[in-house]
């Protein structure tokens, strides 16, 4: 089974600070990590390979330093990795990014399955995975918490807000995963030694046959109008006292607010 996994290098939000004046991320000095959901996607690909055989190819579009993110996946056990990097890609929105990644996948992998994280923790759009499926005209299943592959189809359990939904999808397809799907493995020392020595193949827009009117800022229809922090929610109220007091006070408050 040939699996392609798309990953993104993102700032480690555990370390991120916000500039209070502009409300934007301060990126200087913040370590970069593999987007956590993408790590789950890599892990899932490796597990599927362990079960069904085949090959796992990791693709990222990003600046040259994204090589570090790719090395991380080699240490975990990925077979092949590619960096898609070109000045022409600067300023890409989700439309242009999913187009570029779709071009790369088409060029590089005889894919049976494409895995992505459900979203990147920096932009939180959750659009790139579905976008790739559209560009490639194949089915997509989002928010996967369980994937079982059986020949030319997969049974996927989706983690929705109130219920889990099980769907069957013909392959090839794009599946985006949530973090509950698995616990990414700790890399082995052997994997890391391999990663350190690995030469990372870097491909340009031309190398992946991308139409340059659809890539980068030029190819991006999205315009950011304003970035702002959402208003802070009011704090909750803690009711103290004996059980009877708490119950009657709570029911009274709920009545006042016409909740019951």
């Amino acid at each position: 089974m040939e699996i392609a996994v798309c990953i993104k290098q993102v700032p480690d939000t555990a370390e991120v600070r916000i500039n209070p004046e502009t409300n934007t991320l301060i990126r200087e000095g913040v370590p970069s990590i593999v987007n956590p959901f993408d790590e789950n996607a890599v892990e899932e690909a490796l597990r599927l390979r362990e079960k069904h055989g085949g090959k796992v190819t990791i693709i990222t579009m990003g600046p040259p330093q994204a090589i570090e993110a790719l090395k991380q996946t080699i240490a975990m056990g990925a077979d092949e990795v590619y960096l898609i990097s070109d000045r022409a890609f600067a300023g890409s929105d989700t439309w242009a990014t999913s187009y570029t990644l779709a071009c790369a996948i088409k060029k590089l992998v005889a894919y049976d399955l494409i895995l992505c994280g459900k979203q990147a923790i920096d932009g939180d759009t959750a659009q790139v995975g579905p976008g790739i499926a559209e560009w490639l005209s194949i089915p997509q299943v989002t928010f996967a918490v369980k994937i079982e592959v059986d020949g030319k189809k997969a049974k996927v359990e989706r983690l929705l807000e109130e219920v889990n939904e099980i769907v069957e999808v013909p392959l090839p397809a794009v599946i985006t995963v949530v973090k509950q799907i698995n616990e990414p493995r700790i890399p082995s020392l052997k994997g890391m030694l391999k990663a350190k020595k690995a030469e990372i193949k870097t491909l340009s827009a031309q190398d992946v046959d991308a139409d340059q009117t659809i890539t980068g800022l030029k190819g991006s229809p999205t315009r950011v109008v304003k970035i702002f922090a959402p208003p802070v929610k009011g704090g909750g109220e803690i009711i103290e006292g004996s059980t009877d007091e708490v119950v009657s006070s709570l029911t009274q408050k709920l009545r006042e607010r016409k909740i019951i």
């Binding site: 370390e15 370590p31 240490a75 700790i186 890399p187 082995s188 020392l189 052997k190 030694l193 350190k196």
Partner: protein, 466 residues
């Protein structure tokens, strides 16, 4: 000043992580400044009321648990007074937790190296017990990082004790014959011919005075470290490797025996089968290729060694290390027994002999006793925990630990490398220093605490204070 006598409030000051039961007290003081502490000590001294100081109550030996008298809760003295980036020092009040200090230091890219696992411990408490952590392999115990302390004595007098100013031997006019061994230890008052007065107070378990201010040294945080857990076929392979890696630039060096891995396996099914032991270490600047060769020489499969390079992975590996005491404590709970565990360290050249002794004793008896050996192999300091599964096993567990202590003492080791003596290890301290040594410690106590009210029952039995 806040004084409380409500039994429900007092109750929460009668426990720490030792499971020692039976503590009681008439009341609780919660002073907000040094002036109030001076008033309390004077009052208790004049009325001969025992006074027990309480920190974060995370201690493992019942040190903060009172058996009568009043409790002095330090919790309101929780200010970070100053962090000086230039001199890399910080001045804190005693109830600042390790966690709270770290949050502030992180912003300045600074680090206070002592890392006794439990981050809710107060810095005052860690100074009073001379706590260690896994990084003590590189950085030593708490005492190495304390520059100055301010102490209030039971007389109400205050003294600033600064490192490098006063020798302990010059202060105590009795000639003392006992000496603290030159290994990782927190057993009894730290004393030798050239020891600094400040070191007598660090690790004195609150028996000499109340620490009200602490000045510590800091270093720059480091970023480019990596953590490895390597699994070995045999215990011997692991110990051989540990001995070899010890001379490299590493920060921590920890060991898990075969039974430890068995205990962790249900939670960590990825632990390779047939592992006889594991070693966990944190390194700063090691060449991975060289390291890999060294591991392979000791029969380690590189594909079975876990490597953490980013914060998340390192955190995972640290969790694995922390899961060890948690799991064994669960075992004690499950079998409804108090904790039977050693805290022994021995000199470098005696470690193998001690390890052989552990193994021969642990396998010599015919019982259901379950044991694990794990911990700070870098400082020749393993925690051997014995879990009795039947009533018959209890005396065997007790006797085995006492035998370990005797053996360690005969090798120049210590009965308590990091947790202190508190109220539960008097017998072991006596094995280590003899009656003469203990009586000398009693003299030190009486010298600094003439009314003998402070932390009675810590280090030696309170009867000796009469």
């Amino acid at each position: 000043m806040l004084k409380k006598t409500d039994p429900a409030v007092i109750q929460s000051y009668l426990e720490d992580s030792s499971n020692l039961s039976g503590g009681f007290a008439d009341g609780l003081f919660l002073p907000e400044n040094e002036k109030e502490i001076i008033e309390i000590t004077k009052e208790c001294s004049s009325k001969a009321i025992p006074l027990t100081t309480s920190g974060g109550t995370t201690g493992t030996t019942g040190g903060c648990i009172p058996f009568g008298g009043w409790i002095l809760g330090t919790e309101k003295l929780n200010k970070i007074i100053d962090i000086n980036q230039k001199s890399k020092t910080a001045i804190v009040q005693p109830a600042v937790t390790l966690d709270a200090l770290d949050i502030e230091l992180k912003k300045l890219n600074l680090l206070y190296p002592p890392d006794p696992t439990e981050a809710t411990a107060f810095i005052g408490g860690t100074a009073a017990t001379n706590a260690s952590g896994s990084r003590s392999f590189k950085f030593g115990a708490t005492r190495n990082w304390i520059k100055r302390i301010k102490v209030i004595f039971s007389t109400g007098e205050t003294q600033n004790i600064e490192r490098g100013k006063l020798l302990a031997s010059k202060q105590i006019h009795n000639n003392l014959s006992y000496k603290t061994p030159n290994i990782k230890t927190s057993a009894g008052y730290y004393y030798n011919d050239n020891s600094d007065l400040i070191d007598l107070f660090i690790g004195s378990e609150g028996t000499l005075g109340i620490i009200t201010e602490i000045e510590v040294n800091l270093i720059n945080r480091f970023h480019d470290t990596f953590d490895i857990i390597a699994f070995f076929k045999t215990e011997k392979d692991a110990v051989d490797f540990a001995e070899q890696i010890k001379t490299s630039d590493i920060l921590t060096l920890e060991f898990f025996d075969h039974n430890s891995l068995g205990l962790l396996r249900p939670a960590y099914p990825q632990i390779p089968e047939n592992s006889g032991a594991a070693v966990y270490f944190e390194a700063e600047a090691l060449e991975l290729d060289q390291l890999a060769q060294m591991l392979e020489k000791h029969n380690v499969k590189l594909e079975e060694s876990w490597l953490g390079t980013n914060d998340k992975q390192k955190e995972e590996l640290r969790k694995f290390r922390h899961a060890m005491p948690e799991h064994i404590n669960e075992e004690f709970k499950k079998h409804n027994t108090i904790k039977y565990a050693s805290d022994i360290a021995v000199p470098d050249d005696k470690f193998r002999e001690m390890l052989n002794y552990y193994n021969s004793q642990l396998t010599s008896h015919n019982s259901q006793l379950f044991w694990v050996k794990f911990g700070h192999i870098g400082q020749n300091h393993l925690h051997v925990n014995l879990v009795p599964k039947t009533q018959n096993d209890i005396p065997i567990a007790k006797e085995t630990i006492l035998k370990f202590v005797k053996k360690a003492v005969s090798l120049g080791g210590t009965c308590s490398a990091e947790h202190g003596i508190g109220k539960i290890k008097h017998e072991y301290l006596q094995e280590m220093f003899g009656l003469k040594g203990i009586s000398e410690m009693v003299k030190i106590k009486k010298h600094f605490d003439p009314s003998r009210i402070l932390n009675q029952g810590n280090i030696f039995p309170r009867e000796l204070l009469k």
